[in-house]
Amino acid sequence: MTGFVSLFRRLEGPQTVGRGPAFWSLFAIVLAIGLAYPLFSDGYTVGNTVYFFVWVFIALSLCLIWGYGGSLSFGQTAFFGIAGYGYGVLTLNFGAAYGFTLVAFVAAIAIAALFAVLLGYFMFFGRIAGVFLGIVTLAVTLMLERFMAQTAGPEWHIGSARLNGFNGMSAMPPLTIPWPGQPIVLFADVGLYYFVLGLLVFVYLALRILMNSSFGNVIVAIRENPERAEMLGYDIRKYQLITFVIGAALAGISGVLYTAWGQYITPSSMGMTAAALPLIWVAVGGRSDLTSTVVGTLVVLAAFQALTIYGSQYALVFMGVLLVLTVLIAPNGLVLGAMNWLGRLAARLTRRAG
């Protein structure tokens, strides 16, 4: 019981912006709007919104590994792809009956995490850090893309699932929840929306607790000064590996959800552009804070899509400009900068009132 209470106390702490009744009231309001939103919209628009939510998990994975852990990884899209393809291969082979898509959901994420254990062990226990970590992870990502892109021939199949090279895999079943009478199929509309929203809230709160725990303390300590962290008796390689694996699992969640949402996945989801975009969302929002990452990612994605109507080349230029502006004006992120400013303002107002 006390363990449970102390777990909840970890929802707030030095590693996460936002505390106190004001913050949590706002959180509750935003959540209520999120829950009510499908009632005031149509299935197509809701399905489109799910698409935005899907990407938040991979953004959170970068927030964890890069923002909190200080290791810039380009490998998140690789884990995204592995989990996405994993889901496709599993469900195309074993179908959607008996809740198997949910098993495939978990299994595909586990495969991505397992891959991260191998890659991460090699990197962190080999003491690869800094820019070399970025290079190794990018190389792995692009290798995977190249590899998947050349699997067009019929000889490239796993069981009955053809990999299909550059065209990618498609027609895998959506997530399906077994239900007495009739299973609930989560097509890309209201059903999937609630599933993803629920998962997002759960992951967000769990990560808040994790980052404000003693584990999170060690992660930011490693970012600040790995040598000092080790000389406090922490085996930093172990902490870095665990963080990397959790990050891979989060990216994997995005990969599976993306695949289940659109019922397709292609190698370009592991390409250069796909690897760069999450970095921009996270950098613009504020990589060292979970809330800033979530808000920043959703805002940038929405802006990106609004601009795509006028042509995707403008949207990409806009992203570039946004990144440059962030680096110049608020290197820690625009959303995080704004939230800190609001926090200081609120503090000043309460002091004046008190």
Binding site: S6, P14, S214, N217, V218, V220, A221, R223, E224, N225, E227, R228, A229, E230, M231, L232, G233, Y234, D235, I236
Partner: protein, 238 residues
């Protein structure tokens, strides 16, 4: 039995012979100062003891155990702890959080809170606890890092120039801190250029020169040694 024993430690950086067959042994409970000119190899010797560098040859024994092949964190678990020459505090985090990270592997919950408060008092950093460690003065950073190092309740505390950048009063206070820790049973090995500090705390002094143990003895013997004066103390430090 010695607490720490270095046997014929050799370390090369390319052609540079940084430590040359260094023998050194520390008795439990002593405060031992390591002095010598810039570049003598003092900090390198610490890094060898801590496992950040590995010696080309020689052995390191801690409490009788050969730790030469152990990883750094494992040596810390055996009872070693260090304050680096360049303060290694977590600059982006608050003073309080710095201490929490150091203390959390030994304390939890209310006990952890009490320990943080006690340590803030010991270091005289109560009013700075919410500040970013990067905003502290150089001397305060030194104290904070000493605080982090002693959080682990080490059997041997390594201090690399603990008083650099401190005023004479602050230096004296640091000396008293070290003496208090020593009175509680902590063995201390300190690298220091400030001879007032060495005179205040050292029970034994070792002079390192060009990677070799050049002289060893009480502070009075060392100061009286003309050879030491010629290579080191004859300079501004005396």
């Amino acid at each position: 039995m010695s607490l720490l024993e270095l046997r014929k430690l050799n370390k090369h950086f390319g052609g540079l012979h940084v430590t040359n067959a260094v023998d050194l042994s520390l008795e439990p409970g002593e405060i031992h100062c390591l002095i010598g000119p810039n570049g003598a190899g003092k900090s390198t010797l610490f890094r060898l003891i801590l496992g950040e560098h590995h010696p080309g040859s020689g052995e390191i024994l801690f409490a009788g155990e050969n730790i030469t092949a152990l990883k750094s964190f494992a040596r810390i678990h055996r009872g070693l702890s260090v304050k680096f020459q360049v303060p290694g505090v977590f600059k982006g985090l608050s003073v309080r959080q710095n201490l929490e990270i150091a203390l959390q592997s030994h304390h939890r919950g209310a006990e952890l809170e009490a320990e943080i408060v006690r340590l803030l008092g010991f270091l005289g950093l109560e009013s700075e606890q919410a500040q970013r460690a990067g905003n502290l003065s150089h001397g305060q950073k030194q104290w904070l890092e000493i605080g982090m190092a002693i959080s682990l309740k080490p059997r041997l505390l390594l201090l690399d120039e603990p008083t650099a950048g401190m005023s004479p009063e602050e230096t004296h206070m640091t000396g008293e801190m070290v003496q208090r820790l020593n009175a509680d049973g902590m063995t201390v090995l300190a690298i220091e250029h400030d001879m007032a500090f060495v005179r205040q705390v050292a029970q034994r002094v070792t002079v390192l020169h060009l990677g070799q143990v050049f002289a060893q003895g009480s502070i009075d013997e060392i100061v009286a040694d003309e050879r030491v004066a010629a290579i080191y103390l004859g300079q501004a430090h005396a």
